[in-house]
């Protein structure tokens, strides 16, 4: 039996798979390597809106953050990373939220609550908040900010409020509770044969109003 070599633990993610930083590092055009922490995607349909996602672990002030968000003082979506599988999942939810906001058809009261609601496979709003929003005892948090290209300071404003350690967004999959996700979204084993788990989630999110 072949034993895989193990590497010293990566300082950021503690992964021993591959050399340190291998999963966190991306080479820039000039051959330098920078560690990609947050990821920003411009919404093609609404280019004045960009969506930035960030991931934090060892968060000590989840309760405070959650309360601020509820009070409308923290303008971001706080999502529990255990229910997330891939950044695209959040992007699909965010795109739909922005679209519904623009067309005046949101089901919830605000853009960020709408993003959380869109993640849910059901049309029950409070259930969505319970399942996907963070709870006071959470120690890992996924943060989503919708902003325009020149409003990036909004992102750093929020980042500074989080008392925790930022992880590269790519590490999202390491925090996923796949069993919990499959159960909530009711993904059958046969469905996983014709596509990835992410495919199953996105399809449900995109089409739930048709059910």
């Amino acid at each position: 039996m072949r034993v895989e070599p193990s590497y010293p633990a990566c300082r950021l993610c503690h992964s021993v798979i591959g050399p340190p930083f291998a999963r966190c590092r991306e080479r820039t055009g000039r051959g330098e390597s920078v560690i990609i922490m947050h990821v920003t995607q411009e919404l093609e349909l609404y280019p004045e809106h960009s969506v930035t996602q960030m991931l934090f672990k060892d968060v000590k002030n989840a309760a405070e953050l959650r309360q601020s968000a509820v009070d409308g003082k923290l303008n971001c979506a706080l999502i529990t990373p255990t229910m997330l599988v891939n950044p695209l999942q959040v992007l699909v939810a965010a795109n739909k939220a922005v679209h519904l906001q623009k067309t005046g058809k949101m089901k919830t009261r605000g853009l960020y609550s709408e993003i959380i609601f869109n993640l849910s496979p059901t049309n029950n709003i409070s259930e969505a908040f319970n399942r996907f929003g963070i709870s006071d005892s959470d120690d890992s948090v996924h943060v989503t900010v919708v902003h325009s290209k020149d409003e990036f300071h909004l992102v750093s404003d929020i980042t500074s409020r989080v008392d925790g350690q930022q992880l590269p967004l790519e590490h999202m999959s390491m925090l996923t509770d796949a069993a919990k996700v499959k159960k909530l979204y009711k993904v059958s084993p046969q469905e996983e044969k014709c596509g990835t788990l992410l495919d199953a989630l996105i399809c449900r999110m995109a089409t739930k109003d048709v059910l």
Binding site: Q41, L43, E44, L45, Y46, P47, L88, L91, V92, N95, K96, H99, T103, S188, Q190, E191, K193, C194, G195, D199, A200, I202, C203, R204, A206, T207, D209, V210, L211
Partner: protein
Amino acid sequence: MELEEDEHNTNMAQEKSDDTPFQGKFPEFRSQIDLLKQGAEARVYRATFLGKPTIVKERFRKKYRHALLDEKLTHRRTVQEVRSILRCRKAGIPVPVVYFVDYTTHSIFMEEIVGSTTVRDHIASSQQSQPEQDLEQLANRIGQVLAKMHDEDVIHGDLTTSNLLLRSSVEKSQGIDLVLIDFGLSYISALPEDKGVDLYVLEKAFLSTHPNTETLFEKLLKSYTASSKKSQAVIKKLDEVRLRGRKRSMVG
């Protein structure tokens, strides 16, 4: 989607329908998309959406129709298409992933199956070079997938070899990667008659597009019969429908 329209039809469609893509919305997005096909009911574009290669299918308005009726019809067709795709996916039938549905412009944003060829093109090129064996495997797979779809009571409505895509998978051991597309005429039905007609449509399309493929289609049906739990009634209906075609004697 019947894209083999004669020119007259297409011209008519263009004059009497709303020409501006997405009803004038999404200006920057519009400048970055490519029109792939225009049919009587919808336009199909290729674009990048959320960083992913995407197909956008927009059902446009028909000005000659009463506005309210047109809206309801178009909306209903969009909903039916989306519902069928989701139903197929949940049952493990390979279909594109839906990323987003815009009910204001009746547009469906879905996964582009990159690096694929239609079964139509594959058969056409295969007939010239490769042996019949490869095609037999393909026929078996198609029969299998259709059986699964019909067992889910999904009627495709427009089964042609252009609506079956082959994803080029690197490893042949993984089997044939087939994807069903274009559920624009699809609906839900448990009736063997509807399933029989679905197969009949495919048979007609098959035999007219690809000469000398009668045995191949027979294999497809065999595979279908073996894979489906309700196939007996369906094949019976298929035989009945065949007798109903043009220049057929209804004496029986």
